[in-house]
Amino acid sequence: MDDKPISVVDTNVLLNLATPVVDGRPAAPTGADPLKALLSSYHVHVPTSVIGELSAATGSDDLLSAAADLVLKASHHLTTHDVEAKIDEPLDYGLDQGESDGIWLANTLDAPLFITDEFNSTNYLFVSLALDDRNTLFTTPHVLCKLASHEVLPSEYVDAALSYYVDSKGWDEQYLNQLRHKYLRD
């Protein structure tokens, strides 16, 4: 058993990490693989429902489908948990089932890291409330910056990837700039 920290992630995090890897357009960053970096540096645990959500996203000829294909090709690096069979009372914070399952799993595993990309909306408040320890809550861009500071990913790649997410997903640019300032530019 190695000492990789346990991380719980939701479906969107995996899809967002895979997207720049499969995106062949010129605007996409190249030269590194954030999905591989995360799954190689942490023990990533997910509710079984994530696999179903990924499968549901495949089958069309679009970027999301290609990203879901890639995550499924790496799914043997994920540790899955049948959460639904174990939850007595579902969390009721207005979050969707997948997110609620993930938070339940993070609480149950006492995971030191729960990653969400729900930080652009007030859902972030609910995720924070639902976690037993809100200090374990981080976002994909924050973790990417952390991976860059440990040289698991090149800083230039993460810098370009943050811009890519701002353009393609409308992520809070001012927040990402704060992360850049802290991790990527001394």
Partner: protein, 131 residues
């Protein structure tokens, strides 16, 4: 609601004051009321303006404006979201543990990495790659 009032003096171009007075007279309201209404409209509009919201986020994350200011402009939930997000920047995610180099694509994935290209892009000149 009888909120406390602050007296404000300011100089403005005579022509715009004249226009304001004419409008106030037609509306049968005081000049002061017209100015208050105009300020209120302007501030409400800014709260919905993306450029202004960006500036406000920047200022809050940089600690140049406080929580109450953000809350008064963007509302309680958005201000709380930003407060939690700002606090999270100072925390550190657990240290990533990577003993060796990252594995190759062949080792890591079951097969090749799919590459997606949009159909409308007619410049498909970059070489097919699995990087």
């Amino acid at each position: 609601m009888a909120e406390e009032k602050t007296r404000v003096d300011f100089n403005a171009p005579a022509s715009i004051v004249e226009r304001a007075d004419n409008a106030a007279e037609l509306l049968d309201i005081s000049r002061t009321q017209l100015l208050i209404d105009a300020l209120q409209d302007e501030l409400d509009g800014l709260a919905d303006d993306d450029g202004f919201r960006s500036r406000l986020r920047d200022a809050y994350y940089d600690e140049r404006v406080d929580f109450q200011t953000v809350k008064s402009v963007l509302g309680q939930e958005e201000a709380m979201r930003m407060k939690l997000l700002r606090a999270s920047i100072d925390r550190e995610p657990p240290e990533p543990q990577l003993k060796a180099e990252l594995p190759t694509d062949e080792e890591f994935y079951d097969g090749e990495v799919p590459v997606w290209r949009s159909d409308e892009a007619g410049d498909g000149d970059d070489a097919e790659s699995t990087a």
